[in-house]
């Protein structure tokens, strides 16, 4: 149902390009600010001066430990935000459904259920094992949602979202049942189930990198074909893009990215929904720009949400997954108003 006004590659006016370059610079500036905020603000109070001291190596040991403990979670926030935002952009492009998103469509829940099963019953441990277990779960959930949610005559946006909500609900019930009955196994997963950046180390980041890198590379390669696909299957085919291959590749890349993010930081919803909506408004319909810009805007949103979660109830922390729901769910309410008819 989504109307995509397509700007043919190469015909973008200089003004449009200038606007995008400007937006890109602004986006990068916001990201730098978000990273700085993520290092400066935390459950214990530190100042910009403290951080400067730590960077120049002149701070005392306690401050150094506090500030350095924020490095891994900042890096993790950047990478997870990138993964979820790019996955959301890909899914919205492939399904031509502006409500598609790895969290809403149950893909994150599928990855989580798979990890929880492997941890509880087959003794899987470590972040690399979690990455590998997340992938089949995410794939199965994605296929299941497509089967339940696709309708006979054309695709309905709402059916897909509802199927995702149903699948998420059932899988979350299962996850809670397992984690509540085996609390000792899941002690380190308590916050992960809600979605949290804290308490993880650089190992998680390292095991996440190959998956995230492969997914992002595939996404960038597909940008041009996604533009063609937006014109309709027949036009796409005449432009030399194989619609089936583009869809499969796009969904696979999105699944890779969602699985990596979920294994690292838990099932976080709405980042993949809110970011593509912002990005479309800023850079227009060209998917090559959308993907690049999502990769900048996603981390900013994720880090901003995490910083808010760290300061809102000091000295306790609010998990980032809860904050993103506050920030991202309104994006869904705005998207509702743009739905036409019975979609």
């Amino acid at each position: 149902m989504a109307t995509v006004t397509h700007v043919p590659p190469g015909s973008a006016s200089h003004r449009g390009t200038a606007r995008r370059v400007f937006a890109m610079i602004a986006g990068l500036a916001v990201l730098v600010l978000a990273v700085a905020a993520s290092v400066v603000f935390g459950s214990s109070t530190t100042s910009v001066g403290d951080v400067a001291d730590v960077l120049s190596g002149t701070a005392d040991a306690e401050i150094t430990t506090i500030v350095e403990s924020r490095y891994p979670r900042t890096a993790l926030g950047v990478l997870a935000g990138l993964c979820l935002a790019v996955a959301g952009t890909l899914m919205q492009g492939v399904t031509r459904n502006h409500l598609a998103e790895p969290g809403l469509l149950g893909i994150n829940a599928g990855a989580s259920a798979s990890i929880v099963t492997a941890t509880a019953f087959w003794g899987a441990t470590g972040s690399t094992a979690a990455m590998w277990w997340a992938l089949p779960g995410a794939l199965v959930a994605g296929v299941a949602v497509q089967i339940i949610g696709s309708s006979g005559s054309g695709r309905s946006q709402v059916r897909l979202v509802l199927a995702g909500a149903v699948l998420s609900a059932v899988l979350m019930a299962y996850i809670q049942a397992v984690t509540l009955t085996k609390p000792q196994v899941f002690d380190s997963y308590r916050y992960w189930v809600v979605g949290a950046l804290g308490g993880r180390d650089f190992d998680v980041l390292l095991s996440m990198l190959p998956f995230a890198g492969a997914g992002l590379l595939l996404a960038l390669l597909l940008g041009h074909s996604l533009n063609a696909l937006a014109l309709g299957d027949a036009t796409a085919a005449s432009l030399g893009a194989n619609p089936w291959a583009v869809r499969t590749g796009g969904l696979f890349a999105a699944t890779l990215l969602s699985a990596a993010a979920t294994a690292a930081v838990g099932p976080i919803a709405f980042v993949g929904l809110a970011v593509p909506h912002i990005v479309r408004a800023v850079v227009g319909a060209d998917f090559r720009w959308q993907i690049v810009f999502s990769a900048v805007a996603g981390p900013s949103l994720m880090l901003a949400a995490d910083v808010v979660g760290r300061v809102v109830m000091r000295p306790q922390e609010l998990m980032v997954g809860i904050v993103t729901a506050f920030v991202g769910a309104p994006a869904l309410l705005i998207a509702v108003r743009r739905m036409r008819g019975n979609a």
């Binding site: 709402v158 059916r159 979202v161 509802l162 149903v166 699948l167 019930a173 509540l180 109830m313 019975n342």
Partner: protein, 356 residues
């Protein structure tokens, strides 16, 4: 059944399908509905007996009759009066309220998915209840908090669709968004006030019947007592309303006010249920649908929906207490898993029929 007997006794055959009392009153009754209601009641009784008598602490069947008639002593008295009695009554009461609430809402929105647990009413009431219980203890009572939360959530859904409750697609998507926001509020409140209690969190997010008291049973009982007469009044107008807005206008049942009454009653019922048991998922969705599928009749099925809701809750709580697979899980997790699977089944079925 009753109709032919009653008609025969007065020497005059009453119209088929009507319950005739002394030629003065004729109430339309479908035989299958009566049988279904009796069967549901029998199943609820069976479930209740099982709830009270199964397990290590259960009251043996031989002593159950005596215990129920006031002769309970020692362990049996403790189990009946403190442990399982109130819990069973709360399960029945919340099941009734949720089934009724679902039937009212589904009838008002003319859409099986326009049900309190899909469009965020349960989550909203849950957030309100958690807020009242943990953030404002003593100042705002939990049922009032649940009511305010439910009303706010529905107002948010109503406003954000831009078309009220009419457009089913928008209703569902906005409801999912509002439910997510409300769940985040609940999580925030529990993490802020109760730190790390996982059991506490799941009780507020999924709903639980653990350690309920007679006070809770009284609360839900009073809510039902207050609301049921009004639902009886609105029931006929709702079944007229299912013929469409124009026809119901012509028959003198103003569709707008009927829907408003139904939605208000549904919110009160849901808030009552949530304030004693938490946001139990999918009972409000499934109970009216199951009732409808058994009887295959038109109309909102208010009585059957509430009986089915009570039966589902009693059965789910029996599972929660006795299933050896998972110990000590809150009942809300069972209803979420089973109800979610049922909703998935409904979705694939509707696809074949081409609706939604």
């Amino acid at each position: 059944m009753t109709s032919t007997q009653a008609g025969g006794r007065t020497g005059q055959s009453g119209p088929k399908g009507f319950l005739v009392v002394r030629r003065a009153v004729a109430v339309p009754v479908r035989r299958v509905s009566v049988f279904t209601a009796l069967a549901l009641l029998a199943l609820i009784v069976a479930g209740s007996v099982a709830t009270l008598s199964l397990g290590r602490l259960g009251i043996p069947l031989a002593e159950l009759g005596e215990a129920l008639t006031g002769g309970a002593e020692g362990k049996n008295a403790f189990v009946l009066e403190r442990l399982r009695g109130p819990r069973l009554v709360v399960a029945m009461g919340t099941g009734c309220a949720l089934g009724l609430s679902g039937a009212l809402f589904q009838s008002a929105t003319r859409n099986p998915l326009g049900s309190p647990d899909v469009i965020g009413l349960g989550a909203g009431a849950g957030a309100g209840a958690a807020f009242a219980a943990l953030m404002l203890p003593g100042t705002v009572s939990v049922p009032l908090g649940a009511l305010i939360g439910g009303v706010l959530a529905m107002a948010l859904v109503y406003v954000s669709t831009g078309t009220g409750f009419r457009n089913p697609a928008r209703l569902v998507v906005a409801g999912i968004g509002v439910a997510a926001i409300c769940a985040a509020v609940t999580q925030y409140v529990v993490y802020a006030m109760k730190r790390d209690s996982a059991a506490e969190l799941t009780a507020y997010v999924n709903g639980s019947l653990d350690s309920r008291s007679w006070e809770d049973a009284t609360t839900i009982g009073l809510v039902l007592l207050a609301v049921v007469p009004f639902t009886a009044l609105v029931a006929r107008r709702l079944s007229v309303g299912e013929m469409g807005d124009d026809i119901s206008q012509g028959l003198g049942a103003d569709p707008r006010s009927t829907k408003t009454y139904a939605v208000v009653l549904a919110i009160v019922l849901s808030a009552g249920a949530v304030s004693v048991a938490g946001p139990i998922a999918f009972i409000a969705l499934t109970a009216p649908q199951i009732a409808k599928r058994i009887t295959r009749a038109s109309g909102p099925h208010l009585l059957l929906a509430s009986l089915t809701g009570a039966l589902l809750m009693v059965a789910a709580d029996l599972c929660a207490q006795q299933l050896p697979l998972f110990e000590d899980l809150p009942v809300g997790i069972y209803t979420m898993a089973i109800g979610g699977a049922y909703l998935g089944y409904l979705l694939t079925r509707e696809r074949r029929k081409g609706a939604l």
